[in-house]
Subunit: 308 residues, 2 copies
Amino acid sequence: MPEPQAQDELLYLGIDGGGTKCSAILTCSKHNSLGRGLAGPANPFRGPEQTIDSIEKATTLALRDAGLSQDDLSRVIAGVGLAGVNLPIVYETMSKWKHPYKEMFLTTDLEIACAGAHDGHDGGVIVVGTGSSGCSIVNGEVLIIGAHGFEFGDTSSGAWLGRQAIRAVLLAEDDLGPKTQLTESVSEALGSNGVSIVEKMVGAKPSDFASLAGLVFAAADKGDEVATDIIQQGASYLSHMVRKLASTNPPAISVLGGLKDLILPWLDDDVRMQLVAAKNAADVGAVIYAEQKHREMEATAKVSRPSN
Amino acid sequence: MPEPQAQDELLYLGIDGGGTKCSAILTCSKHNSLGRGLAGPANPFRGPEQTIDSIEKATTLALRDAGLSQDDLSRVIAGVGLAGVNLPIVYETMSKWKHPYKEMFLTTDLEIACAGAHDGHDGGVIVVGTGSSGCSIVNGEVLIIGAHGFEFGDTSSGAWLGRQAIRAVLLAEDDLGPKTQLTESVSEALGSNGVSIVEKMVGAKPSDFASLAGLVFAAADKGDEVATDIIQQGASYLSHMVRKLASTNPPAISVLGGLKDLILPWLDDDVRMQLVAAKNAADVGAVIYAEQKHREMEATAKVSRPSN
């Protein structure tokens, strides 16, 4: 039978939600993982319902993995980092969620990624996954670069690379651009060509486009001119982003996200030289964020409580 | 009281439907306009319901303008040219429409534009409006270039120019691109900046983006470097498109669409030299198309009818 004290003990839950997946980690403290959970997309810009559903699923799986039950939610302090929350209206929508936790601290996926990468200390990150963006936290000042979404930004992200590849296929089929190994492999992967690609991609999500990113890197590795052009254009944007983050003087900058290993060799030399490996994943960063915010709240509560 | 013969006489209706508007012209023959009607967007790629609604409204207005009633629809041969109909699934959807006409001939907005520009003879057109695309008709062979829609194509169209302008504003606000008169005028026109623009444009239609195109041309005229870059990139694509159409040897090529006068000076000299003015608008082209198709059908019917 568990000790009564253990049943009262606070638990920390870190949630990292993005366009492709939502991961959860349950801990006693950041270095003591009890369980993990993984669920589907959690980008509230594309719908709060699916996001909440994914967070709840990832939470349940993490509790189960830790041998705990839903009853234990009452002692969970959750740090929730989500893509899209940099948009005020999205933040507002998600803040209204009647969450099941004891406390919830909501912020961007970027801030928890940065907290994770640098163990809660100042630093910067660029995240290159389904989307792309950058963030630095220096002396409490948060600078976010990009995070404008697939329509206007996400340059060099998996979704962007995939869309550029499709555009190259369509240009080639109009004989207005070169036909290369890339344009052939993309047509093949989609199982269609010409205007049929347009039909096939109606309602496609960024993650659908991102599924083509691997083909672009594979073609570029073999010297494909179209693939190389696309990646160089994207990498140039990311190199500029790193330099911009560096101008805020963070002690360290890391590159994160599903494409980090593939894009790294394409960044400018001066940029690559200053990048360091991240200390923790973003979901651990969400735990660190939750611990920090909870401690701040406790401190504020103590200060505002009469001393007698 | 109208002559009995007049009540039996065939009428031709030309419909030109695109992302921004749907225009209708009612005629006895192509050179004898009886009435006109104008309604909202009619791009079936973005929804067949709205398209049908716009076509019906434009038809009703044209009938009314001609002093005719819905009863007269039974003697209307309609030529309907619509954006998006180059996609097989869109064509199929629109073909299922239980239209109110005696006969309806459905084709792309490009084919009717080409028929109109060259009076039903062989020729080529590029259309630069909300979207962009090109078409040539030579010896019955139809070549369509572009027409891939806003997600993957429409380079140099109004919607594309507007989106590029917004991207430039967001890049400038991240300090990753120059702040210029254009980035300021676009922020002002949208009444917002930074991520608020992203919020503001959620669910925006291509026509919403296209409403910013005028600002890009205005800034470029004053030497704005960002605006000039955007337009040069777009115009280069169009110049290539004209050369590609020219390679099919059409007797003449015209540039059409809402932005034709603004984009013309930016096309390459060799391209501009070979462009001729269009003879008729696209809705008249739809009438010409309907007359041609109706005549072909009559001829086929006569041939297949036993001669005794």
